[in-house]
């Protein structure tokens, strides 16, 4: 996955993501594609969660999946999560759950719960950073005011790091793939460098939903695992999604 929160020169927050899923889950030799990624594409739906006939939050989801990976609470915050691989991974959390230790929360249930119940950017950040989880994760959170954007790097127990927007320091965007931002990505899977190169070339003055889509459309940020691209703008509550293809030649991940 690749997620970006960017602040334009007027202080508007933009949030975009590519959802990549299906690595090593069957390769279709004929079509040169991942079987699971292709099977997931027709399941992508946009959902408007309403209570008392009013929108509470919106999300891009897979039909049949009740947790959330991508969503927006209009006028308050936007949220995406990226997978964080670790030996202390979710299978240990599942084993603990089965053995009766149930004080952790399932990742996608937490994101849904935050989208449904958090009352502000700060409240969402605190819940995402402090709730014990069954699996490690990266949470990418955007807000509605200048400086409100961050990457929360989570282990199952702790918040390991919080990287926030800081325009005064020149950090007008935060970008996360599937590696800790303070370490180099795996050399065979470096989507961070091309994505940051394109963000830097775009510049803060020219960042928009349109140019964010351009960045997320550049290979290998766009790759054979990319199922959908979602673009969100908290200030107007807008969420739009597109199902993607990556024509050959294209990286398998």
């Amino acid at each position: 996955c690749t997620s970006v929160v960017a602040e334009d020169s007027k202080g508007n927050l933009l949030h975009g993501r590519n959802l990549d899923f299906g690595l090593f889950m069957g390769w279709d030799l004929k079509n040169k594609s991942w079987i699971m990624s292709e099977k997931l594409k027709p399941l992508v739906v946009n959902l408007d969660f309403r209570r008392n006939n009013k929108t509470v939050f919106k999300s891009t989801n897979f039909a049949g999946y009740v947790g959330m990976l991508t969503g927006i609470r209009p006028h308050l915050f936007s949220l995406t999560m990226n997978e964080r691989f670790s030996l202390d991974g979710g299978y240990i959390g599942i084993l603990e759950w089965i053995l009766g230790q149930r004080d952790g929360m399932w990742m996608s249930f937490l994101t849904r719960s935050v989208l449904e119940n958090a009352t502000s950017y700060e409240n969402a950040r605190s819940l995402l950073a402090q709730t014990k989880l069954l699996a490690p994760a990266y949470f990418i959170l955007g807000g509605n005011q200048s400086g409100q954007g961050c990457i929360i790097t989570r282990s199952r127990e702790l918040s390991l790091d919080l990287l926030e927007l800081n325009v005064k320091l020149g950090r007008w965007y935060v970008l996360e793939t599937n590696y800790d931002h303070w370490e180099d990505p795996f050399f065979l899977d470096d989507r961070r460098t091309p994505a940051m190169t394109c963000m830097n070339m775009t510049t803060q003055n020219n960042i928009s939903i349109k140019t964010l889509y351009d960045v997320l459309s550049t290979k290998p940020v766009l790759n054979k695992l990319t199922t959908y691209t979602t673009l969100m703008q908290v200030s107007n509550g807008n969420l739009e999604s597109y199902i993607r293809d990556c024509p050959n030649p294209c990286m398998p991940w």
Partner: protein, 121 residues
């Protein structure tokens, strides 16, 4: 670049989405949080039943590739419904509603819903 990692110059003018990297737009559905959890996903599943079935079949095929006897999916069908009963609501009842609406075994729908935790290694 025609050798891996197939990097390219930063794309421009891709929006509005079009061309070979764009497959389709995404349909909108409403989830009414005032409905009982087991009824919330009915309209989505009604439209996506076949696609959901296709995806779950791909998971079954994958499991059979690893364990040809079919015991892995048997284990999923037997054990995961037991674990589902330990999941918090409204998630538990929503998952039960999806299994009921789609006709797909409860354990397999539960597996789909805990994919993330399973695949973080």
């Amino acid at each position: 670049q025609f050798i891996p990692p197939y990097t390219e110059d930063c794309r421009t003018d891709m929006y509005p989405p079009k061309g070979p990297t764009f497959r389709s737009t995404v349909s909108w559905y409403t989830i009414d949080l005032d409905l009982p959890p087991h009824k919330r996903w009915t309209s989505v599943i009604k439209d996506k039943k076949k696609d959901l079935d296709d995806m779950i079949q791909a998971v079954r095929d994958l499991a059979k590739a690893f364990v040809p006897s079919g015991r892995l999916i048997e284990l999923v069908d037997i054990s995961l419904p037991l674990m589902l009963n330990t999941l918090p609501n409204p998630f538990r009842d929503e998952i039960k509603g999806i299994a009921s609406d789609s006709g797909i075994p409860l354990g397999e729908i539960t597996l789909f819903n805990i994919f993330y935790e399973v695949f973080t290694v």
